[in-house]
Symmetry: C2
DNA sequence: ACTCTAGCGGAGGCAACCCTCCGCTTCAAC
DNA sequence: GTTGAAGCGGAGGGTTGCCTCCGCTAGAGT
Protein backbone atom coordinates (compact mmCIF):
# COMPACT_ATOMS: atom_id res chain seq x y z
CA UNK A 1 0.00 0.00 0.00
CA UNK A 2 1.38 3.37 -0.97
CA UNK A 3 0.90 5.58 2.01
CA UNK A 4 -0.22 8.80 0.36
CA UNK A 5 1.31 11.56 2.42
CA UNK A 6 -0.76 14.42 1.12
CA UNK A 7 -0.64 17.45 3.36
CA UNK A 8 -3.11 17.78 6.19
CA UNK A 9 -4.51 21.24 5.81
CA UNK A 10 -5.81 22.11 9.22
CA UNK A 11 -8.91 24.21 9.13
CA UNK A 12 -8.84 27.02 11.64
CA UNK A 13 -11.95 29.02 12.35
CA UNK A 14 -10.51 31.30 15.03
CA UNK A 15 -7.18 31.90 16.65
CA UNK A 16 -6.19 30.57 20.04
CA UNK A 17 -4.79 33.52 22.06
CA UNK A 18 -1.18 33.62 23.25
CA UNK A 19 -1.55 34.63 26.86
CA UNK A 20 -1.76 31.74 29.28
CA UNK A 21 -5.01 32.65 31.03
CA UNK A 22 -6.60 33.62 27.75
CA UNK A 23 -5.64 30.31 26.16
CA UNK A 24 -7.12 28.45 29.12
CA UNK A 25 -10.39 30.33 28.73
CA UNK A 26 -10.41 29.66 25.02
CA UNK A 27 -10.09 25.94 25.60
CA UNK A 28 -12.73 25.96 28.32
CA UNK A 29 -15.12 27.76 25.99
CA UNK A 30 -14.57 25.27 23.19
CA UNK A 31 -15.15 22.35 25.54
CA UNK A 32 -18.26 23.93 27.03
CA UNK A 33 -19.57 24.74 23.58
CA UNK A 34 -19.02 21.20 22.35
CA UNK A 35 -20.99 19.95 25.33
CA UNK A 36 -23.80 22.47 24.94
CA UNK A 37 -24.13 21.98 21.20
CA UNK A 38 -24.28 18.24 21.70
CA UNK A 39 -27.02 18.70 24.24
CA UNK A 40 -29.17 21.42 22.71
CA UNK A 41 -28.14 21.60 19.08
CA UNK A 42 -26.71 24.61 17.33
CA UNK A 43 -29.15 26.95 19.09
CA UNK A 44 -27.67 26.38 22.54
CA UNK A 45 -27.59 29.49 24.70
CA UNK A 46 -24.32 31.39 24.50
CA UNK A 47 -24.70 32.70 28.01
CA UNK A 48 -25.09 29.15 29.22
CA UNK A 49 -21.90 28.18 27.39
CA UNK A 50 -20.01 31.02 29.05
CA UNK A 51 -21.43 29.94 32.40
CA UNK A 52 -20.34 26.32 31.86
CA UNK A 53 -16.88 27.49 30.91
CA UNK A 54 -16.73 29.63 34.03
CA UNK A 55 -16.02 32.82 32.12
CA UNK A 56 -17.90 36.04 31.52
CA UNK A 57 -20.06 36.47 28.47
CA UNK A 58 -17.70 39.17 27.27
CA UNK A 59 -14.86 36.68 27.06
CA UNK A 60 -16.93 34.44 24.88
CA UNK A 61 -17.68 37.25 22.46
CA UNK A 62 -14.07 38.38 22.34
CA UNK A 63 -12.92 34.94 21.25
CA UNK A 64 -15.87 34.16 19.04
CA UNK A 65 -17.55 37.30 17.70
CA UNK A 66 -20.63 35.40 16.56
CA UNK A 67 -22.41 32.16 17.29
CA UNK A 68 -21.26 30.96 13.92
CA UNK A 69 -17.59 31.50 14.76
CA UNK A 70 -17.97 29.39 17.86
CA UNK A 71 -19.85 26.63 16.17
CA UNK A 72 -17.46 26.56 13.26
CA UNK A 73 -14.52 26.24 15.63
CA UNK A 74 -16.03 23.24 17.37
CA UNK A 75 -16.97 21.71 14.09
CA UNK A 76 -13.61 22.32 12.43
CA UNK A 77 -11.92 20.63 15.37
CA UNK A 78 -13.89 17.47 14.82
CA UNK A 79 -13.43 17.49 11.08
CA UNK A 80 -9.69 17.83 11.51
CA UNK A 81 -9.69 14.76 13.72
CA UNK A 82 -11.68 12.79 11.17
CA UNK A 83 -9.24 13.74 8.45
CA UNK A 84 -6.40 12.42 10.54
CA UNK A 85 -8.25 9.19 11.26
CA UNK A 86 -8.88 8.61 7.57
CA UNK A 87 -5.16 8.76 6.91
CA UNK A 88 -4.45 6.27 9.64
CA UNK A 89 -6.91 3.83 8.11
CA UNK A 90 -5.32 3.92 4.69
CA UNK A 91 -3.72 0.48 4.99
CA UNK A 92 -6.74 -1.48 6.23
CA UNK A 93 -8.95 -3.62 4.02
CA UNK A 94 -11.33 -1.50 1.92
CA UNK A 95 -14.65 -2.33 3.58
CA UNK A 96 -13.20 -2.45 7.08
CA UNK A 97 -11.50 0.89 6.57
CA UNK A 98 -14.73 2.46 5.37
CA UNK A 99 -16.89 1.18 8.19
CA UNK A 100 -14.28 2.00 10.79
CA UNK A 101 -14.13 5.55 9.55
CA UNK A 102 -17.91 5.89 9.44
CA UNK A 103 -17.94 4.61 12.97
CA UNK A 104 -15.61 7.36 14.05
CA UNK A 105 -17.68 9.80 12.07
CA UNK A 106 -20.77 8.66 13.92
CA UNK A 107 -19.14 8.60 17.31
CA UNK A 108 -16.91 11.60 17.22
CA UNK A 109 -19.33 14.11 15.81
CA UNK A 110 -20.40 15.27 19.19
CA UNK A 111 -22.30 18.09 17.60
CA UNK A 112 -24.57 15.41 16.23
CA UNK A 113 -27.82 17.21 16.37
CA UNK A 114 -26.40 20.15 14.52
CA UNK A 115 -24.30 18.33 11.98
CA UNK A 116 -27.23 17.61 9.75
CA UNK A 117 -27.72 21.33 9.26
CA UNK A 118 -24.01 21.97 8.96
CA UNK A 119 -23.74 19.42 6.14
CA UNK A 120 -25.92 21.73 4.09
CA UNK A 121 -24.67 25.05 5.29
CA UNK A 122 -23.17 27.42 2.76
CA UNK A 123 -20.65 29.37 4.83
CA UNK A 124 -17.01 29.36 3.87
CA UNK A 125 -15.71 27.40 6.81
CA UNK A 126 -18.43 24.80 6.54
CA UNK A 127 -17.71 24.41 2.86
CA UNK A 128 -14.04 23.94 3.66
CA UNK A 129 -14.92 21.36 6.32
CA UNK A 130 -17.16 19.55 3.93
CA UNK A 131 -14.50 19.47 1.25
CA UNK A 132 -11.95 18.36 3.77
CA UNK A 133 -14.18 15.58 4.98
CA UNK A 134 -15.04 14.42 1.49
CA UNK A 135 -11.38 14.44 0.60
CA UNK A 136 -10.66 12.31 3.65
CA UNK A 137 -13.52 9.81 3.56
CA UNK A 138 -14.35 9.82 -0.13
CA UNK A 139 -11.33 7.76 -1.16
CA UNK A 140 -12.18 5.14 1.45
CA UNK A 141 -15.59 4.80 -0.11
CA UNK A 142 -14.23 4.80 -3.67
CA UNK A 143 -11.77 2.10 -2.74
CA UNK A 144 -14.56 -0.03 -1.30
CA UNK A 145 -16.53 0.48 -4.49
CA UNK A 146 -13.59 -0.49 -6.68
CA UNK A 147 -13.03 -3.59 -4.60
CA UNK A 148 -16.62 -4.55 -5.36
CA UNK A 149 -17.56 -4.24 -1.70
CA UNK A 150 -19.77 -1.16 -1.84
CA UNK A 151 -22.57 -0.48 -4.27
CA UNK A 152 -21.85 1.96 -7.07
CA UNK A 153 -25.25 3.61 -7.36
CA UNK A 154 -24.68 5.82 -4.32
CA UNK A 155 -22.36 8.69 -3.73
CA UNK A 156 -20.36 9.59 -0.68
CA UNK A 157 -22.52 12.56 0.25
CA UNK A 158 -25.54 10.32 0.41
CA UNK A 159 -23.68 7.85 2.54
CA UNK A 160 -22.65 10.54 5.02
CA UNK A 161 -26.17 11.87 5.23
CA UNK A 162 -27.51 8.42 5.89
CA UNK A 163 -25.06 7.83 8.69
CA UNK A 164 -25.53 11.30 10.14
CA UNK A 165 -29.30 10.90 10.15
CA UNK A 166 -29.25 7.58 11.92
CA UNK A 167 -26.62 8.77 14.36
CA UNK A 168 -28.59 11.85 15.31
CA UNK A 169 -31.55 9.75 16.39
CA UNK A 170 -32.11 8.79 19.99
CA UNK A 171 -31.63 5.11 20.74
CA UNK A 172 -31.96 3.09 23.91
CA UNK A 173 -28.20 2.67 24.05
CA UNK A 174 -25.09 2.73 21.89
CA UNK A 175 -25.38 -0.97 21.14
CA UNK A 176 -28.79 -0.47 19.58
CA UNK A 177 -27.54 2.45 17.57
CA UNK A 178 -24.61 0.44 16.27
CA UNK A 179 -26.88 -2.45 15.35
CA UNK A 180 -29.18 -0.21 13.34
CA UNK A 181 -26.25 1.52 11.72
CA UNK A 182 -24.71 -1.76 10.66
CA UNK A 183 -28.02 -2.92 9.21
CA UNK A 184 -28.23 0.21 7.12
CA UNK A 185 -24.62 -0.30 6.03
CA UNK A 186 -25.60 -3.79 4.90
CA UNK A 187 -27.70 -1.99 2.35
CA UNK A 188 -24.63 -0.15 1.16
CA UNK A 189 -22.73 -3.39 0.50
CA UNK A 190 -22.64 -4.43 -3.10
CA UNK A 191 -25.08 -7.23 -3.80
CA UNK A 192 -23.21 -10.03 -5.50
CA UNK B 1 -71.13 -6.92 14.19
CA UNK B 2 -69.72 -7.57 10.75
CA UNK B 3 -66.21 -8.86 11.06
CA UNK B 4 -63.92 -6.89 8.72
CA UNK B 5 -63.62 -3.54 10.43
CA UNK B 6 -61.83 -3.74 13.74
CA UNK B 7 -62.17 -0.56 15.72
CA UNK B 8 -59.87 2.33 14.97
CA UNK B 9 -59.27 3.91 18.33
CA UNK B 10 -58.72 7.55 17.45
CA UNK B 11 -56.35 9.32 19.75
CA UNK B 12 -57.61 12.74 20.72
CA UNK B 13 -55.36 15.16 22.49
CA UNK B 14 -57.75 18.10 22.70
CA UNK B 15 -61.33 18.83 21.80
CA UNK B 16 -62.43 20.75 18.73
CA UNK B 17 -64.88 23.44 19.88
CA UNK B 18 -68.53 23.50 18.80
CA UNK B 19 -69.02 27.10 17.77
CA UNK B 20 -68.38 27.79 14.12
CA UNK B 21 -65.82 30.58 14.46
CA UNK B 22 -64.07 28.75 17.26
CA UNK B 23 -63.84 25.57 15.19
CA UNK B 24 -62.34 27.53 12.31
CA UNK B 25 -59.71 29.01 14.58
CA UNK B 26 -58.94 25.60 16.02
CA UNK B 27 -58.29 24.21 12.56
CA UNK B 28 -56.21 27.20 11.54
CA UNK B 29 -54.10 26.79 14.65
CA UNK B 30 -53.48 23.12 14.00
CA UNK B 31 -52.47 23.81 10.42
CA UNK B 32 -50.20 26.67 11.43
CA UNK B 33 -48.66 24.55 14.16
CA UNK B 34 -47.98 21.67 11.79
CA UNK B 35 -46.22 24.08 9.49
CA UNK B 36 -44.21 25.76 12.22
CA UNK B 37 -43.19 22.50 13.89
CA UNK B 38 -42.09 21.16 10.51
CA UNK B 39 -40.00 24.24 9.98
CA UNK B 40 -38.49 24.86 13.39
CA UNK B 41 -38.97 21.65 15.32
CA UNK B 42 -40.92 21.27 18.52
CA UNK B 43 -39.55 24.52 19.92
CA UNK B 44 -41.29 26.71 17.37
CA UNK B 45 -42.56 30.01 18.77
CA UNK B 46 -46.16 29.87 19.93
CA UNK B 47 -46.68 33.54 19.19
CA UNK B 48 -45.53 32.90 15.67
CA UNK B 49 -48.00 30.04 15.35
CA UNK B 50 -50.85 32.26 16.51
CA UNK B 51 -49.70 34.90 14.04
CA UNK B 52 -49.63 32.42 11.18
CA UNK B 53 -53.10 31.24 12.09
CA UNK B 54 -54.32 34.83 12.17
CA UNK B 55 -55.60 34.58 15.74
CA UNK B 56 -54.62 36.17 19.01
CA UNK B 57 -52.22 34.44 21.34
CA UNK B 58 -55.03 34.10 23.84
CA UNK B 59 -56.99 31.94 21.44
CA UNK B 60 -54.09 29.60 21.07
CA UNK B 61 -53.79 29.17 24.79
CA UNK B 62 -57.53 28.62 25.22
CA UNK B 63 -57.48 25.71 22.79
CA UNK B 64 -54.11 24.32 23.80
CA UNK B 65 -53.20 25.19 27.38
CA UNK B 66 -49.58 24.17 26.91
CA UNK B 67 -47.11 23.72 24.11
CA UNK B 68 -47.33 20.02 24.72
CA UNK B 69 -51.09 19.95 24.16
CA UNK B 70 -50.60 21.61 20.81
CA UNK B 71 -47.77 19.39 19.73
CA UNK B 72 -49.59 16.28 20.85
CA UNK B 73 -52.62 17.27 18.84
CA UNK B 74 -50.62 17.69 15.66
CA UNK B 75 -48.79 14.48 16.31
CA UNK B 76 -51.88 12.47 17.15
CA UNK B 77 -53.46 13.61 13.91
CA UNK B 78 -50.62 12.17 11.91
CA UNK B 79 -50.48 8.95 13.85
CA UNK B 80 -54.18 8.42 13.29
CA UNK B 81 -53.65 8.77 9.58
CA UNK B 82 -50.81 6.26 9.63
CA UNK B 83 -52.99 3.77 11.47
CA UNK B 84 -55.61 4.10 8.77
CA UNK B 85 -53.03 3.65 6.03
CA UNK B 86 -51.71 0.47 7.62
CA UNK B 87 -55.18 -1.03 7.48
CA UNK B 88 -55.56 -0.15 3.84
CA UNK B 89 -52.30 -1.91 3.01
CA UNK B 90 -53.32 -5.17 4.65
CA UNK B 91 -53.91 -6.99 1.36
CA UNK B 92 -50.66 -6.07 -0.42
CA UNK B 93 -47.62 -8.32 -0.69
CA UNK B 94 -45.64 -8.38 2.60
CA UNK B 95 -42.53 -6.48 1.57
CA UNK B 96 -44.39 -4.01 -0.61
CA UNK B 97 -46.89 -3.33 2.14
CA UNK B 98 -44.09 -2.69 4.62
CA UNK B 99 -42.12 -0.33 2.43
CA UNK B 100 -45.22 1.49 1.28
CA UNK B 101 -46.16 2.12 4.88
CA UNK B 102 -42.68 3.23 5.84
CA UNK B 103 -42.81 5.59 2.92
CA UNK B 104 -45.96 7.14 4.26
CA UNK B 105 -44.38 7.22 7.67
CA UNK B 106 -41.40 9.09 6.24
CA UNK B 107 -43.44 11.43 4.11
CA UNK B 108 -46.44 12.17 6.21
CA UNK B 109 -44.68 12.92 9.45
CA UNK B 110 -44.50 16.59 8.80
CA UNK B 111 -43.21 17.10 12.28
CA UNK B 112 -40.11 15.28 11.12
CA UNK B 113 -37.57 17.14 13.08
CA UNK B 114 -39.50 16.59 16.27
CA UNK B 115 -40.56 13.01 15.74
CA UNK B 116 -37.26 11.61 16.85
CA UNK B 117 -37.75 13.12 20.26
CA UNK B 118 -41.41 12.18 20.35
CA UNK B 119 -40.52 8.54 19.72
CA UNK B 120 -38.80 8.55 23.08
CA UNK B 121 -41.09 10.81 25.00
CA UNK B 122 -42.82 9.43 28.05
CA UNK B 123 -46.05 11.42 28.18
CA UNK B 124 -49.36 9.65 28.08
CA UNK B 125 -50.46 10.80 24.66
CA UNK B 126 -47.12 10.08 23.12
CA UNK B 127 -47.12 6.63 24.64
CA UNK B 128 -50.59 6.03 23.23
CA UNK B 129 -49.45 7.23 19.82
CA UNK B 130 -46.42 5.02 19.96
CA UNK B 131 -48.52 2.01 20.90
CA UNK B 132 -50.98 2.84 18.20
CA UNK B 133 -48.26 3.13 15.62
CA UNK B 134 -46.58 -0.09 16.67
CA UNK B 135 -49.93 -1.84 16.56
CA UNK B 136 -50.47 -0.54 13.05
CA UNK B 137 -47.05 -1.02 11.48
CA UNK B 138 -45.69 -3.86 13.61
CA UNK B 139 -47.81 -6.54 11.95
CA UNK B 140 -46.66 -5.40 8.52
CA UNK B 141 -43.09 -5.92 9.61
CA UNK B 142 -43.84 -9.24 11.27
CA UNK B 143 -45.53 -10.44 8.12
CA UNK B 144 -42.51 -9.50 6.04
CA UNK B 145 -40.30 -11.35 8.49
CA UNK B 146 -42.48 -14.46 8.37
CA UNK B 147 -42.45 -14.36 4.59
CA UNK B 148 -38.65 -14.46 4.77
CA UNK B 149 -38.40 -10.99 3.24
CA UNK B 150 -37.17 -9.04 6.25
CA UNK B 151 -34.32 -9.96 8.56
CA UNK B 152 -35.26 -11.31 11.95
CA UNK B 153 -32.47 -9.80 14.04
CA UNK B 154 -34.10 -6.40 14.16
CA UNK B 155 -37.20 -5.20 15.86
CA UNK B 156 -39.84 -2.79 14.67
CA UNK B 157 -38.79 0.00 17.00
CA UNK B 158 -35.31 -0.10 15.57
CA UNK B 159 -36.71 -0.01 12.07
CA UNK B 160 -38.80 3.05 12.82
CA UNK B 161 -35.89 4.85 14.40
CA UNK B 162 -33.75 4.11 11.39
CA UNK B 163 -36.35 5.49 9.03
CA UNK B 164 -37.11 8.47 11.23
CA UNK B 165 -33.42 9.33 11.50
CA UNK B 166 -32.83 9.24 7.78
CA UNK B 167 -36.03 11.09 7.07
CA UNK B 168 -35.20 13.90 9.45
CA UNK B 169 -31.98 14.64 7.61
CA UNK B 170 -31.75 17.35 5.00
CA UNK B 171 -31.30 16.10 1.45
CA UNK B 172 -30.93 17.90 -1.85
CA UNK B 173 -34.39 16.76 -2.87
CA UNK B 174 -36.99 14.12 -2.19
CA UNK B 175 -35.57 11.80 -4.82
CA UNK B 176 -32.24 11.69 -3.05
CA UNK B 177 -33.91 11.05 0.25
CA UNK B 178 -35.92 8.19 -1.22
CA UNK B 179 -32.82 6.68 -2.78
CA UNK B 180 -30.94 6.72 0.51
CA UNK B 181 -33.94 5.35 2.35
CA UNK B 182 -34.29 2.49 -0.06
CA UNK B 183 -30.61 1.66 0.26
CA UNK B 184 -30.97 1.45 4.01
CA UNK B 185 -34.06 -0.71 3.58
CA UNK B 186 -31.98 -3.03 1.42
CA UNK B 187 -30.07 -3.72 4.61
CA UNK B 188 -33.32 -4.69 6.28
CA UNK B 189 -34.09 -7.33 3.65
CA UNK B 190 -33.31 -10.84 4.67
CA UNK B 191 -30.08 -12.09 3.19
CA UNK B 192 -30.71 -15.41 1.50
C1' DA C 1 9.74 45.13 40.43
C1' DC C 2 7.29 48.01 36.99
C1' DT C 3 4.53 48.92 33.53
C1' DC C 4 1.28 48.77 30.00
C1' DT C 5 -1.70 46.49 27.41
C1' DA C 6 -4.29 42.31 26.31
C1' DG C 7 -7.75 40.35 28.53
C1' DC C 8 -11.50 40.03 31.96
C1' DG C 9 -16.41 40.05 33.90
C1' DG C 10 -20.78 41.46 34.04
C1' DA C 11 -24.13 45.43 34.08
C1' DG C 12 -27.48 47.00 31.09
C1' DG C 13 -30.32 48.01 26.88
C1' DC C 14 -32.89 45.59 23.57
C1' DA C 15 -35.71 42.00 21.55
C1' DA C 16 -38.27 37.76 21.58
C1' DC C 17 -41.04 34.81 23.85
C1' DC C 18 -44.04 32.92 27.53
C1' DC C 19 -48.41 33.06 29.66
C1' DT C 20 -52.36 35.52 32.20
C1' DC C 21 -56.05 38.40 32.45
C1' DC C 22 -59.96 41.03 31.17
C1' DG C 23 -63.02 44.12 28.54
C1' DC C 24 -65.14 43.61 24.05
C1' DT C 25 -67.42 40.70 20.22
C1' DT C 26 -70.13 37.25 18.13
C1' DC C 27 -72.60 33.12 17.94
C1' DA C 28 -76.67 30.46 18.63
C1' DA C 29 -80.57 29.17 21.47
C1' DC C 30 -84.85 30.75 22.36
C1' DG D 1 -84.60 40.12 18.02
C1' DT D 2 -82.87 39.51 22.39
C1' DT D 3 -79.63 37.94 25.40
C1' DG D 4 -76.32 35.16 27.94
C1' DA D 5 -72.35 32.80 27.55
C1' DA D 6 -68.59 31.20 24.81
C1' DG D 7 -65.00 33.04 22.47
C1' DC D 8 -61.83 36.73 21.05
C1' DG D 9 -57.53 39.66 20.89
C1' DG D 10 -53.79 41.70 22.68
C1' DA D 11 -51.77 44.54 26.48
C1' DG D 12 -48.58 43.71 29.91
C1' DG D 13 -45.38 41.64 33.38
C1' DG D 14 -41.86 38.30 33.84
C1' DT D 15 -38.05 35.64 31.93
C1' DT D 16 -34.38 34.56 29.00
C1' DG D 17 -31.12 35.40 25.60
C1' DC D 18 -28.29 38.54 22.57
C1' DC D 19 -24.63 41.64 22.31
C1' DT D 20 -21.98 46.09 23.65
C1' DC D 21 -19.31 48.69 26.48
C1' DC D 22 -16.20 49.98 29.99
C1' DG D 23 -13.74 50.13 34.41
C1' DC D 24 -10.83 46.71 36.55
C1' DT D 25 -7.14 42.72 36.61
C1' DA D 26 -3.24 40.26 35.79
C1' DG D 27 0.18 38.28 32.51
C1' DA D 28 4.54 39.29 29.79
C1' DG D 29 8.30 41.85 28.52
C1' DT D 30 11.88 44.64 30.33
Amino acid sequence: MTAPSFPVTEIVASRRPHRKDAARNYDALLAAAREAFAEHGAEASLEDIARRAGVGIGTLYRNFPTRRHLFESVYADEVNTLVRVAQELADQEPWEALTAWLDRFAGYMVTKRAVREALNDESEIFAACRDSMYAAGGPLFARAQEAGEARRDMDFVELLRMVAGITATAFDDDAQRDRVLSIALDGVRASR
